[in-house]
């Protein structure tokens, strides 16, 4: 088990390899479909994303009616492949160094990871409670006009568990498993 602490850097990311189990501590920004589309359309993000990690997640958030404080009650990853058209450009244009999601991403993103020193971390899909427990605090919310699941939530996390499935050296566990399962399937059909 490796540990990675904020502030994050390309150098840290380049040391990681496919299969590494990592605990992340520090700051994460949620961003899913609508955020990626906006960023890709060239709309300036409300926060500086350089050297940050984007988490593909639409959390369940409750707001305390009195204190107005936000509380995350469920926060697992959403399917990443929907961001495939945008992700590599978002790496290039905004300097993010990590993406957390589930299900993996394709060739364009893998090339982006290599070119821009970025890593794709796979969180455990559906494990919304285990992952929400690792979130200490909601620091801020941006672009709430997109609706709660689609907004950018700035989260502080401790020991957030992920697995590197696409590294900055051109390796993808998803491509490997797809190829091997395809071989197996051919024999079984």
């Amino acid at each position: 088990m490796k540990k990675l602490n904020y502030p994050f850097s390309q150098e840290q990311m380049k040391e990681l390899k496919v299969g590494d189990m990592v605990l992340l501590t520090g700051k994460l920004f949620t961003g899913r479909d609508a955020v990626h589309k906006r960023l890709h359309d060239g709309i300036k993000p409300p926060v500086d994303l350089k050297n940050q990690i984007i988490y593909h997640c639409g959390p369940v958030i409750l707001q305390d009616p009195k204190t107005k404080e936000y509380r995350v009650t469920a926060a697992g990853p959403t399917t990443s492949i929907r961001e495939e058209p945008y992700q590599a450009d978002v790496m290039k244009d905004y300097g993010i160094v990590g993406v957390i999601g589930k299900g993996g991403m394709g060739a364009k993103t893998l090339a982006g990871c290599k070119a821009y020193g970025c890593v794709y971390f796979h969180a455990i899909g559906g494990a919304a409670q285990v992952l929400a427990e690792k979130i200490d605090k909601v620091n801020a919310v941006h672009w709430l006009d997109l609706g709660s699941p689609e907004a950018i939530w700035e989260l502080s996390v401790t020991d957030f568990p992920v697995v590197v499935t696409m590294d900055a050296h051109g390796h993808s566990l998803h491509a490997e498993v797809e190829a091997s399962s395809n071989e197996a399937l051919k024999k079984l059909l």
Partner: protein, 328 residues
């Protein structure tokens, strides 16, 4: 909707103020009716809470078996351990297992004469209340404007299916089906030349395996398949979802389908896709198949994929709309 109901209640309250003698009967009737509605509302809300936070025993059992099968210290075992911890934590905290609380799908089986309009209104009311309590995420988006009402109610949401039966009881079943797994569902039209799949059970087997391969880890596997052979495109998909209401340890009464269900699970687990697509021994936890008649010209195979966070529950209502029995 809530406003309308309040108005109705106000009217009834006004009626109660009429002269004593006339209202004695009316008053008690109104009161019991309101109480029943309130109790039904409570029952539906509890159904939503439990469905969102707790996995049924039959599902937990196969997940634990899958955990045992994976080799220690692999990413697959790591994923299954986190899944197990998540199941326990969600139940303890009474919070959603998965943040994607999915399409909210109700199946109501009822005796002749149930007022479906009224029942639907009460279901919607419970869905709104469950959303406010955080049992459900704000998950319903206007497809044209992209707006999220934040209430989970709108055209097609929640999905409510009514079925009449000859018994006196009312059963309400609920499934919360997340978007990740819904997106990897598939419908094939046989024959399929690319897969060499003809219009027979072997052809059906081939397209189902293709769907499992294409899903990889994107549907939050290990998953469970609901499959319908035949029907039109609409009926096929609905039936494939209804298959997911079957208990995992039941046995298909049709021998050929029972055999195919077992074979699909065994074969899929040889593909090595594994939990989350990390590679591993368990790709599928179960497969349930049924058949509807088809047109001579059509041969559809409709496949619904359910993630490991297989949220389905059901209740039988008692005489005063309280929960008499849990169905899973």
């Amino acid at each position: 909707m809530a406003l309308k109901q309040n108005k109705k209640k106000d009217k009834k309250l006004l009626v109660k103020k009429k002269p004593i003698k006339k209202t004695v009967v009316k008053k008690s009737l109104t009161k019991s009716k309101l109480n029943t509605d309130k109790l039904l509302d409570d029952s539906l809300l509890e159904l939503i809470r439990v469905t969102s936070a707790e996995l049924p025993n039959d599902v937990q059992k196969v997940i634990l078996e899958a955990l045992e099968r994976e080799e220690k210290n692999t990413t697959a075992a790591y994923a299954m351990n986190i899944i197990k911890a998540n199941i326990d934590l969600a139940k303890k905290k009474s919070q959603p297992l998965c943040q994607d609380t999915g399409t909210v799908i109700f199946y109501v089986t009822h005796p002749v004469g149930l007022n479906q309009t009224k029942f639907s209104k009460l279901i919607k009311k419970a869905v709104v209340a469950a959303t406010k309590k955080g049992y459900l995420r704000q998950n319903s988006v206007d497809s044209l404007t992209g707006e999220n009402s934040g209430l989970n109610v709108g055209p097609g949401h929640p999905a409510i299916h009514f079925h009449e039966h000859a018994k006196k009881s009312i059963e309400v079943k609920l499934m919360l089906k997340g978007g990740g797994c819904e997106n990897v569902g598939a419908q094939y039209s046989l024959p399929n030349t690319a897969l060499g799949a003809g219009r027979d059970l072997d052809g059906v087997r081939k397209v189902i395996l293709d769907a499992v391969f294409k899903a990889q880890g994107k549907g939050c596997g290990p998953g469970v398949l609901g499959v319908c052979i035949g029907g039109d495109r609409g009926a096929g998909y609905i039936e494939s979802k209804e298959q997911l209401f079957r208990k995992l340890d039941d046995k298909n009464k049709i021998k050929s389908l029972s055999d195919l269900e077992v074979e699909i699970v065994e074969t899929s687990n040889k593909l090595g896709i594994g939990p989350m697509g990390f590679g591993g021994k368990t790709t599928l936890l179960g497969c349930k198949i049924s058949a509807l008649n088809r047109l001579p010209a059509s041969f559809f195979v409709s496949i619904s994929y359910m993630c490991w966070a297989y949220r389905r529950q059901g209740i039988e209502l008692g005489s005063s709309s309280t929960i008499k029995k849990w169905l899973y």
